[in-house]
Structures are given as structure tokens and as C-alpha cells.
């Protein structure tokens, strides 16, 4: 007992530090009732300068104590003399606090950046790419950014991966902006990225369980060169550009329709072999680097279960085939899923979508990405044509972005849940 009192006196004498530099946190393992009593005494002494993070209650639970640097040797000696085992849990509290504070400031900054990001506006490529980095930074436990290749004009192509971990989990693919002028698709995808992240963080219905089953890969801009071109000037030649910006056999007519260039009955109906045409399929299948990058990525991953591509306009939710009017083998199920998804979409704002195969609903279209995915065994393959039905068309006002994205999210969630509930 005298040793104990002497130690307390010593501790009281040296304790005056406000900073935590060099402070340790010791994890103490009481092995008997005696130990517990000793620790309780120690804690009761407010002059000791010891900061009990957890309390001595039983031998079952360790006691964590922050020990000021100046008292460290005395305390360690005391514990050794009392035969109370301990380990060093944190060997520099100040360092840890500095790191934590840095992280907090950083997170607040990211929070501010993503909160202040205007989802109700159209942004250029650079801004979208910056937003992606901010989002990844803020949700680094959930989201990572992968570069899957470059475009014709050498811009990076990025996909965001939403994953709670695990090896080669089944995955869902969503892309937007394969047609440059369909700005509402990029804007919707930006909103979606943020929404998936915040739904996960706030543990909102469906997202945590969906991400428990699958990874989500979201490519916000599938045609970066085209998108940059549409921002070049208000001149409609730029704003209404659809294709990529690759050089073709006709120097006056660059660009390929990236959604006619896939290995899915390439060269069939609904695609042109004239470089000046808006639906020019390209000189050969997968000739476009943008298409090749995505196709290679998905094939080498090898475990995608759903492929969804966002376009505008017309308000349609479609499934394969585009190249032929024959029913796809899974048509009944796909039609049913699409119908239910469109009802979920409609529940938000009353927006009406029509449902059907690409071939019958829009027109024959060969070399399309949704067909490619389906023919590769990715059963749940869908193509969206977002708002509106023609009043604004490609030039949808920004004040419709958030409601469009929200209703689309309801449809996507329905489909994703179905994918999770029907593994194959």
C-alpha cells in the first residue's frame, strides 16, 4: 500500500501536461479481484493524471488507460511490481490525434465539396472527373476509381466501383453518356453515384443488402471525347454531337456511333456503313477504343450479372434484342422485370415509360451494347431512354435532372434487387 501511495504522489507531482505528446495508452489485464481493487483506487485518484478510457470492472475485460508521457515509467513500474500484465496499445496519442484531426478536416472538406456540388446542373468533363475523385475520397471504404483505358483523343476512361469487399463478387454494370448529346444520362449517373454512396453510408433500404450481394460498376462518361465536343460551343453542330471523335475514312465526317460498334450482329440492320451517318457502325466490330476498353474490362472481370446503359430521350425501358425481332429466350422475365421497374419509376413523379425490346420499341439496331452483354450471358441487360418524350429532347432543362435521376434510381434499385434475388 505504501508503494502505491508513493507512486500516486509521484504521478500527481509530474502531471501537468496539457498536450498528449508521447502519451501512451496502456491496455491493462486485471487477473484477480486484488488487481481490480488496485486499479479502482488508481482511477479514483483524480490527481494522478491518468485517464481511464475504460474502467476496471471485471477480470473479463481489459482496462485502457491514457498515461501522460511524464508518468509513463512510474506507471509501468507500478504495474510490474503489482504483477498486473499490460500491453502498449497506442504509443503516441498526440500523433494519433493529429492524424484523426487531419482526417476530420479532410472529411469535412469533402463533405462540403460533395454537399455543395450542384446536382441540378450540367457539368463539363473536368468537373465530373473532379467530382468522382471527391466522392472516392469521401467514401474510400466503399468506392474506388478504376481507369480502364483511354479514348481516341487520349482521355482517361474511368469506372467507379462500389464494393463492400470480397473476391470477384457478382457485379452490375451501369454506363451513361455513350452518346455525347444525351446530357441527362451523365447528369443522372453523377447523381446516382452520390446516392448509392449516401444510401450505403446512412444504411438506407436496399443499398446495403444489394452491395452485400454484388459490386456495382458505374461509368459516368462512356464517351469522354464526344462529351467534351458537345461543350465546345453552343453551336448546335457541337451540342448535338452523338458519336465518338475518331478519324474515319471520310475526313469531313469523324466519329462512330459507339452503340453500333459492339460484337452483336455487327453490320446488321439499323446501323450505317457511311462515316457521315449518325449511326455509323465503324469500319469493323469493336474498332472503337472506347468500346474495346469496356468490352475487355467486362469480359476479363468475368462475373457480371447485369448490364444497364442509360440514354435519352423517349422514356423507354428496353431489353434485347436490338438486332432482331425474335424474342430473346429470357424475354418473359425481362419484360416482367422491366414492367415492374417502370412502375417503380412512375411512382416518383408520374413519368410514364414504355417497355419492350429494343428492336420493336425503337427500331432495329445491330451492334448495340445491350445485345452484346446479353449474348455474352449477362442475362439482366437493359437499355434506358430517359426523359423526355420530345418537348425538350436532348436539351432537357437542368431543373429536371434531380427528379429524373430519382425516378430512374427507383427503377434501377428494383432491377438490382431482382438480380440479387435471382442468382445464376
Amino acid at each position: 500500500m505504501r508503494v502505491y501511495l508513493a507512486v500516486i504522489a509521484l504521478l500527481a507531482a509530474v502531471h501537468s501536461e496539457e498536450l498528449f505528446n508521447g502519451d501512451h495508452v496502456l491496455r491493462v489485464h486485471a487477473e484477480s479481484e486484488d488487481h481490480i481493487q488496485i486499479l479502482k483506487e488508481l482511477e479514483r485518484d483524480v490527481n494522478s493524471g491518468l485517464d481511464f478510457w475504460t474502467h476496471a470492472v471485471s477480470t473479463e475485460r481489459p482496462v485502457d488507460i491514457r498515461v501522460p508521457h511524464s508518468s509513463l515509467n512510474a506507471v509501468k513500474l507500478f504495474l510490474k511490481k503489482s504483477n498486473i500484465p499490460f500491453t502498449v496499445m497506442i504509443n503516441n496519442v498526440q500523433e494519433l490525434l493529429v492524424r484523426e484531426r487531419e482526417e476530420m478536416v479532410h472529411n469535412a472538406e469533402m463533405e462540403r465539396k460533395t454537399k455543395s456540388f450542384n446536382f441540378a446542373a450540367y457539368h463539363d468533363l473536368e468537373t465530373i472527373y473532379k467530382f468522382m475523385d471527391t466522392l472516392v475520397d469521401k467514401h474510400s471504404n466503399l468506392i474506388s476509381k478504376e481507369r480502364i483505358g483511354s479514348t481516341f483523343e487520349n482521355r482517361p476512361m474511368y469506372v467507379l466501383k462500389f464494393s463492400t469487399g470480397g473476391e470477384k463478387k457478382p457485379a452490375i454494370w451501369i454506363d451513361a453518356g455513350i452518346h455525347a448529346r444525351e446530357w441527362i444520362s451523365h447528369a443522372t449517373a453523377v447523381w446516382l453515384a452520390n446516392r448509392i454512396a449516401t444510401d450505403f453510408e446512412k444504411n438506407r433500404a436496399l443499398v446495403p443488402s444489394i452491395l452485400g450481394h454484388v459490386d456495382i460498376y458505374l461509368m459516368i462518361v462512356a464517351n469522354p471525347d464526344g462529351y467534351v465536343f458537345t461543350h465546345h460551343s453552343p453551336n448546335t453542330h457541337y451540342r448535338l454531337w452523338r458519336k465518338s471523335r475518331s478519324v474515319t475514312s471520310n475526313p469531313k465526317c469523324p466519329g462512330v456511333d459507339l452503340n453500333r460498334n459492339w460484337d452483336a450482329h455487327f453490320g446488321g440492320p439499323g446501323a450505317s456503313d457511311d462515316p457521315c451517318a449518325e449511326d455509323y457502325r465503324g469500319p469493323s466490330v469493336q474498332s472503337e477504343i472506347e468500346v474495346k476498353n469496356i468490352a475487355d474490362f467486362i469480359m476479363s472481370h468475368g462475373n457480371f450479372k447485369s448490364f444497364m446503359t442509360l440514354h435519352s430521350y423517349k422514356q423507354l425501358l428496353m431489353y434485347p434484342y436490338g438486332y432482331s425481332g425474335t424474342d430473346a429466350p429470357d424475354k418473359p422475365e425481362l419484360h416482367d422485370v422491366a414492367t415492374q421497374a417502370s412502375k417503380a419509376l412512375n411512382s416518383w413523379h408520374g413519368t410514364v415509360y414504355k417497355v419492350g425490346s429494343i428492336f420493336h420499341t425503337i427500331e432495329p439496331a445491330s451492334g448495340a451494347s445491350a445485345d452484346w452483354a446479353y449474348l455474352r450471358g449477362i442475362k439482366y441487360s437493359f437499355a434506358f431512354e430517359l426523359r423526355d418524350t420530345g418537348k425538350y429532347g436532348f436539351l432537357l432543362p437542368a431543373d429536371q435532372i434531380v427528379s429524373t435521376a430519382t425516378e430512374t434510381w427507383l427503377a434501377l434499385k428494383y432491377i438490382m434487387k431482382h438480380v440479387c434475388d435471382h442468382p445464376y
Binding site: 446542373a121 465536343f229 458537345t230 460551343s233 448546335t236 469523324p254 425503337i362 418537348k391 436532348f394 429536371q400
Partner: protein, 233 residues
């Protein structure tokens, strides 16, 4: 590609024919304060006709895009004939819509608009309606609708079973001197054809007054900007 007999209303053959009927409706009943959009096709059928064309029978609904967020739907029925001729000739349409006569609430706005712009000094001119971000100023809304009505004459005339036109944007509007008490407007409009995804540019001269409605006096197809294939660097 023959579609004969009963047609699936959500599939494109029915929708394309209904779009033609819509263009016809707008040429006859569109104004700076009234322009219709297709809402839904309820029933559709098609049959070959003796002269070698194809005739569609349609039951569909339209809404007035001018009346804020989704005005009431108007039920229409139409016969649309796509003739089979050597040179393209426009489709022939017979159209009946319920309660069309009852929509005359816009008379006051039309007269105010007319009075404002019929004066000899008036020289309205604007570009890119909507702009890249979908904005249309309050002042330009009636001109936007007028352009769509005028463009409907072209869209109707140019339609076939292989097209589905919509006006994508008004590239420019320039008021010309009034003539015979008609507002005279020169438009350059961009039409979007859904099957081919092409953007087709037309210059046109249209007149309008509350009494005479929209008339299209001249149209001229325009090649798309050839000089802008490469952005100036």
C-alpha cells in the same frame, strides 16, 4: 417491313404513324400558345391499300405542351395513309380530336402577343432555343412554339413509315417585316429523326396572326455546318 393488322401500340410502327397525325394536328391547331405532344397510343392497326400504300388507323392521346405541367389529355383518332409513289409524297391524314373547339382559352394571350410584335419597329431575333442547358426565356416561349408549329408542316410533308420526326431546337429566329398584317418570321429549325438519329436543318419563312393561324411560305433544306467539322484551336 410490313406491319399489317392489329399493331402493338407501344411499338414503333404505331408510334411513327401517330407522330404523323400529331404533326397534322399541330399544323391545324397549333399556335404560339398551343402545341401538342404525343402522350400515348391506345390502339392501332394497319392495312395495305389498293393503290399500293399503307393505311393506319389510330386511337391515341395528346397533351398540350403549352399548358404547364401536363395539361389534360385529348383523345384523338386518325387515319394516316402513306402512299406508295415513285417520288416521295407526304402522308395523308384524317383526324378527329374530342373537345378541340373548347380549347380557346388562349385567345387573349394570342392577341396580346400579336399586338406586341406586329408593330413596324419590332425586329425580334434570337438563337439556340432552347440553349445547350435547356433554357427558354419567357419571351421566347411563344416563338419556340410557333417554330414547332411551322416545323410541323415540314415534318408532316417529309414523313414516311421509316421516319419519326421531332423538332430538336430552333437554331435561329429572325422577324421579317410584317406583311398583310401577318407576323413574318424566318426560322432555322433542327429536326431530329429518331430511327436514323439524324439532325436535319431547315430554313423556313412562316406567317402568323390570331385569325389566319400559321402558314409556311417557304422552306429550304440546309446542309449542316460544314465548316465546323474541326473545332477552332
Amino acid at each position: 417491313m410490313a406491319s399489317t393488322g392489329d399493331l402493338e401500340p407501344t411499338h414503333y410502327p404505331a408510334r411513327r404513324a401517330a407522330t404523323v397525325a400529331l404533326h397534322y394536328l399541330n399544323t391545324h391547331h397549333g399556335s404560339p400558345f398551343r402545341v401538342f405532344g404525343l402522350q400515348q397510343v391506345h390502339k392501332a392497326s394497319a392495312e395495305d391499300v389498293a393503290a399500293g400504300g399503307r393505311k393506319y388507323k389510330l386511337d391515341f392521346s395528346v397533351t398540350d405542351w403549352a399548358s404547364g405541367s401536363e395539361g389534360p389529355a385529348l383523345r384523338c383518332s386518325a387515319d394516316v395513309l402513306f402512299p406508295q409513289t415513285e417520288r416521295h409524297s407526304g402522308p395523308e391524314v384524317q383526324l378527329r380530336c374530342e373537345a378541340l373547339q373548347q380549347i380557346n382559352r388562349t385567345a387573349q394571350e394570342e392577341h396580346a402577343f400579336y399586338q406586341r410584335y406586329i408593330s413596324p419597329d419590332s425586329a425580334v431575333s434570337a438563337r439556340d432555343i432552347p440553349d445547350s442547358y435547356g433554357n427558354v426565356s419567357e419571351e421566347m416561349q411563344p416563338f419556340w412554339r410557333l417554330a414547332r408549329v411551322a416545323a410541323s408542316f415540314i415534318m408532316l410533308r417529309e414523313s414516311s413509315e421509316r421516319t419519326e420526326f421531332n423538332m430538336a431546337q430552333v437554331a435561329s429566329v429572325a422577324q421579317q417585316g410584317s406583311s398583310e398584317e401577318q407576323l413574318m418570321l424566318e426560322f432555322v429549325v433542327l429536326l431530329h429523326d429518331f430511327p436514323s438519329q439524324e439532325i436535319i436543318q431547315w430554313k423556313l419563312l412562316a406567317s402568323w396572326s390570331p385569325d389566319r393561324g400559321v402558314r409556311v411560305l417557304q422552306t429550304e433544306w440546309q446542309p449542316r455546318c460544314p465548316h465546323a467539322t474541326k473545332p477552332p484551336n
